[in-house]
Amino acid sequence: MSDRKLDVLRPTAGAAGAPMLQGTLDLMVLKTLETMGPQHGYGIARRIEQISEQALSLNQGTIYPALLRLCQRGWIRAEWGTSENGRRARFYSLTRTGKAQIGQETENWERVAATMARFLVRSE
């Protein structure tokens, strides 16, 4: 568990705009797949952009290393399929361990966010 906490605090390289924490993107991807079901890379990227309302200026490309990482951890799996407009695309979906992981990651993130919030309140 402890290594994951550290993970969250390590800034990710390659994201332009607002600095992003690693683990943030992973959780976003997992959450997206949970609500939308199997989805291709472009779909996931667009969804994250929409939800964050452009607050994060995320380079769409950065989700691919994240997707590979999640695949290698066994949390998601990839399959070739056909997109809604008939294009061949790779679809990602949650695995059973991935689904279980979401709860944990969410909890993790909430704890960090809460700590951060407390910290910010006190120092004001």
């Binding site: 291709h40 890379g41 380079n59 769409q60 997109s83 695309a89």
Partner: protein
């Protein structure tokens, strides 16, 4: 666990590298297409839509590279590239590759062979569960160990506390088995407790009952057969149970098949049939050893109770030793007196059973292992030298690559890959070679006409050993050159001259290392060979040309006297056969590690008992001395007329010196029996001759003091029918013996014949193994050391061609050039010789116990070692030196 998954997926990537890359490209393309399409639908023009898509994606190449690294692809790519490059390098110089592979293969092969032997003889445990818990009970005095008598076994079984149970086993019985036809089948007899003690679960059927085979139990003849015997004689038929075997006119039903792989309690044993111990009474109806409290013939093993160590078992045994021997021999008739006076019960590790090979070959094999290790080191060093010379030839290339930005680790990886390929090839050839060598060695150790002594079968252990060895060799041989290659200073090495100077110093450590190892190996080989020849040239009081024969004259209708008479007839008939010079009977085969002793004493002229001791008693017929070739030095040998007269004997030189010190023994009397015993049990005999000392026990044992008596004066029956025949040729002797035996008893199995040479061979198989294997190593070492020096010098000459040319142009004489070269070589060789001599001195004590007739410190052997080594090195020096001397200065300088 996620790191493990990561590692696994990266490994899998190795096999799907190309697919992964194609997939990634397609995925990214499809992503961009989707973005472009969406942008177009929002009303952008084609070009605008594409630009916007690329912008929001970020750097495509960067993402692509990040994912590829994540998948572990560049690493694999490098590996693949190094592999291809290494293959091309090997193809480019097949000579170099062949020599390197051969060097490694020889080293690995020799090591695998010796390790296979060591493994089979010393390391492999019995094929039963938890062999490490097994112990072996012996009756021992110092290094001499004997088996146990049945009485001892019984007393031990009742009183010992350290082992859960013990069983007794004897396997020297080999008898005719009638299963359709007569055949000699190796077999063993054992008590029923063997099955529980060894945790043996028969492959088919069931084992003996717990108490079966014990002396007090009624004998129920039952047999288990070994898995191999079942396959060869019953074609693996499951209906074998209930079949009967006919053994010594007794029907024995088969009740089970022993577990596969278990065919004896030592690696050299391959029994076909297992019978209850008390079956021995059927095998030897007159004089069964099971009923003889003085016969120490049983192998007794036990399994330590859980948690009990060998040391605890030893302590427990020495505490109850007295009680056990008292229980086994209450009157002290046999144990604790006479021959067995100093023998005590002992317990030894029984992991690999009751192996005589282990005691016999343990030390020699360990010595060979050590020599092998040195050999391997030498091979690795030579390989390092070969690769180093290749690398130094390519320093320019490495410098260029390094200047172009190649990382140091990449250069190391590439040289290591080349070494790894060579090592793999060396491993494959080496293992094949080792296999063949091990088989050849086993054949060498196995007495002629016997089944293979041990089963050379590789377990996982041997395979791991060979692989480990190759990896070690490859690292040893490859790391140094790889390191050298990576240390290129581009600025300097790009200038040819510097590169050459660097390369010239490569042999600085290699030559001394090689010479030192060579000194060690050659020295050891010379010592071991000297030992062998010293044993072999000493015919030990016998002379070549004699054939020993064991007759099997067993006929149920003959009584002992008839058999004795028939045996004597054969000997007489043989003596009268043309071409046969003499033939004689004896009670004991010489040089077979048997023991035949009797107590004798002499009286001084005043009639007082003078000397009194156990001596070797050899009972013979009159033709013995001419037949075996033992010279009679004083007095005379036996004559036929002696048989009818008073008791006479011939004694050996050392016995004469002992019983009659400083006096003439001929004509004096010595008496068999105890000097303080009943005169009725004493039998005096007159000494008629003094014979030279003969090594009756074994070539490896000193000649015992011996008394030769006439068999016909002593006995009316003699069950051991052993003949010595001296004929003009072996073929003639064999032919005559077979004819006589067949005439007398046509149905008997043919007699066993053994020539003196075979006997010597068998006696010296250990020394022969040591001397021939170490001799092989020494020759190989010489070749490697010479090749090493030759290689280093001839490269030096090539590289310093220009320098030599300039020196000559400036007026240096040719002999001066050669002297410079010689000085460099001599210093390195001298360092090696000194180091080798120091190492040889330090390891001397390890070798001494294997030597005979020569000492480790022998000046002659040391001188011979140096002579041989320097002689060969001189040859290796002459060729490059003469090339250096014949350099044409003008040509050399004009080059470049």
């Amino acid at each position: 666990m996620s790191w493990l998954r990561m590692a696994i997926s990266r490994c899998l990537a190795m096999f799907r590298g190309r697919t992964l890359e194609r997939d990634l490209d397609e995925e990214l393309r499809s992503h961009l297409e989707m973005a472009v399409e969406e942008n177009r639908q929002r009303g952008m023009s084609e070009g605008e839509a594409r630009r916007a898509a690329l912008r929001s994606f970020g750097g495509v190449t960067q993402v692509r590279e990040t994912v590829r690294v994540g998948q572990g692809l560049p690493f694999l790519e490098n590996l693949r590239r190094d592999f291809g490059y290494a293959l091309r390098q090997m193809r480019k110089s097949p000579g170099f590759a062949a020599v390197t592979v051969l060097t490694l293969a020889l080293g690995i092969g020799a090591n695998t062979a010796i390790f296979l032997l060591t493994y089979s003889v010393l390391l492999k445990g019995l094929p039963v569960p938890h062999p490490g818990q097994l112990v072996l009970y012996r009756f021992a005095k110092g290094d001499t160990t004997l088996g146990l008598s049945y009485n001892l076994y019984e007393a031990l079984r009742e009183r010992q506390t350290a082992t859960s149970d013990v069983f007794a086993w004897a396997s020297d019985a080999t008898k005719v088995v009638e299963n359709g036809h007569a055949e000699l089948v190796p077999m063993a007899i054992a008590t029923g407790s063997i099955f529980r003690t060894l945790e043996l679960h028969p492959y088919l059927g069931h084992g003996f009952d717990e108490q079966a085979g014990e002396r007090g139990q009624p004998l129920r003849p039952e047999a288990l057969i070994s898995y191999n015997f079942w396959r060869t004689h019953f074609h693996g038929d499951a209906g074998v149970l209930g079949h009967t075997l006919r053994i010594d006119n007794t029907d024995v039903p088969i009740i089970g098949v022993l577990p596969r792989g278990f065919d004896g309690i030592s690696p050299e044993e391959h029994i076909g049939i297992l019978l209850p111990l008390s079956f021995e009474r059927v095998l030897h109806p007159s004089g069964a050893m099971i009923d003889n409290p003085g016969a120490v013939w049983l192998q007794v093993m036990g399994r330590l109770k859980p948690g009990v160590t060998l040391a605890q078992a030893r302590a427990a045994l020495s505490a109850s030793d007295r009680q056990i021997t008292d229980a086994a021999d209450p009157q002290h008739m046999f144990l604790g007196t006479g021959l067995f006076g100093d023998f005590k019960l002992a317990v030894e590790p029984g992991r690999n059973g009751a192996s005589t090979l282990r005691t016999e070959y343990g030390k020699p094999l360990l010595a060979l292992e050590a020599l092998c290790g040195l050999m391997m080191l030498l091979c690795a060093v030579n390989t390092a030298l070969l690769i180093l010379s290749r690398v130094s030839g390519r320093l320019h290339e490495f410098a260029v690559r390094s200047a172009l930005g190649a990382a140091r680790s990449r250069l190391i990886a590439q040289v290591l890959m080349e070494t790894a390929l060579l090592a793999i090839a060396g491993l494959l050839f080496g293992v094949a070679l080792g296999w063949a060598l091990a088989r050849a060695l086993v054949t060498m150790l196995t007495p002629i006409g016997h089944p293979a002594l041990i089963d050379v079968r590789a377990g996982a252990g041997v395979v791991f050993f060979a692989i480990g060895l190759s990896i070690a060799a490859a690292l040893l041989a490859g790391l140094w050159p790889a390191f050298r290659a990576s240390r290129t200073a581009p600025g300097l090495d790009l200038k040819q001259a510097h590169a050459q100077r660097q390369a010239g110093s490569l042999g600085r450590w290699i030559i001394p290392t090689q010479v030192a190892l060579g000194v060690l190996l050659i020295h050891a080989a010379l010592l071991l060979t000297a030992t062998f020849t010293d044993y072999a040239k000493n015919t030990a009081g016998f002379s070549n040309g004699v054939t020993f024969v064991r007759l099997r004259l067993e006929n149920d209708n003959w009584n002992d006297q008839t058999q004795a008479r028939k045996t004597l007839e054969i000997a007489e008939d043989l003596e009268n056969t043309p071409g046969i010079r003499s033939a004689a009977l004896m009670n004991m085969l010489p040089m077979h590690n048997f023991l035949s002793t009797s107590n004798y004493f002499s009286r001084d002229p005043q009639g007082n008992v003078h000397q009194n001791r156990q001596v070797w008693l050899q009972e013979v017929t009159p033709g013995y001395f001419p037949a075996v070739g033992t010279a009679v030095l004083q007095g005379r040998a036996f004559a036929r007329s002696d048989i009818a007269g008073d008791a006479v004997c011939v004694i050996s030189q050392s016995a004469a010196a002992y019983f009659f010190p400083g006096e003439d023994a001929v004509g004096r009397t010595i008496t068999a029996g105890q000097s303080d015993g009943d005169p009725k049990h004493q039998s005096p005999c007159r000494v008629i001759g003094i014979a030279q000392d003969a090594r009756l026990e074994s070539l490896l044992q000193p000649a015992p003091m011996a008394v030769y008596a006439l068999i016909e004066q002593e006995h009316t029956s003699f069950p051991n029918s052993i003949l010595a025949v001296r004929a003009s040729s072996y073929g003639l002797a064999a032919e005559a013996v077979r004819r006589e035996a067949a005439k007398l008893l046509p149905a008997a199995p043919p007699p066993t014949l053994e020539t003196f040479d075979q006997l010597v061979d068998e006696n010296l198989s250990q020394q022969r193994l040591l001397s021939s294997v170490s001799g092989g190593f020494a020759l190989l070492a010489l070749a490697l050391v010479a090749a090493g020096l030759y290689g280093v010098l001839s490269r030096a000459v090539t590289e310093r061609r220009r320098e030599i040319g300039i020196r000559m142009a400036l007026g240096a004489q040719r002999d001066r050039i050669v002297a410079v070269l010689a000085r460099g070589a001599a210093v390195r060789v001298a360092i090696g010789v000194v180091a080798g001599a120091a190492l040889a001195l330090m390891t001397a004590h390890l070798l001494q116990s294997l030597l005979y007739g020569v000492s480790v410190g022998s000046f002659g052997v040391a001188l011979a070692t140096l002579g041989i080594l320097l002689g060969v090195l001189m040859l290796a020096f002459v060729i490059p030196a003469s090339r250096a001397a014949s350099i044409d200065p003008m040509e050399a300088i004009r080059e470049e």
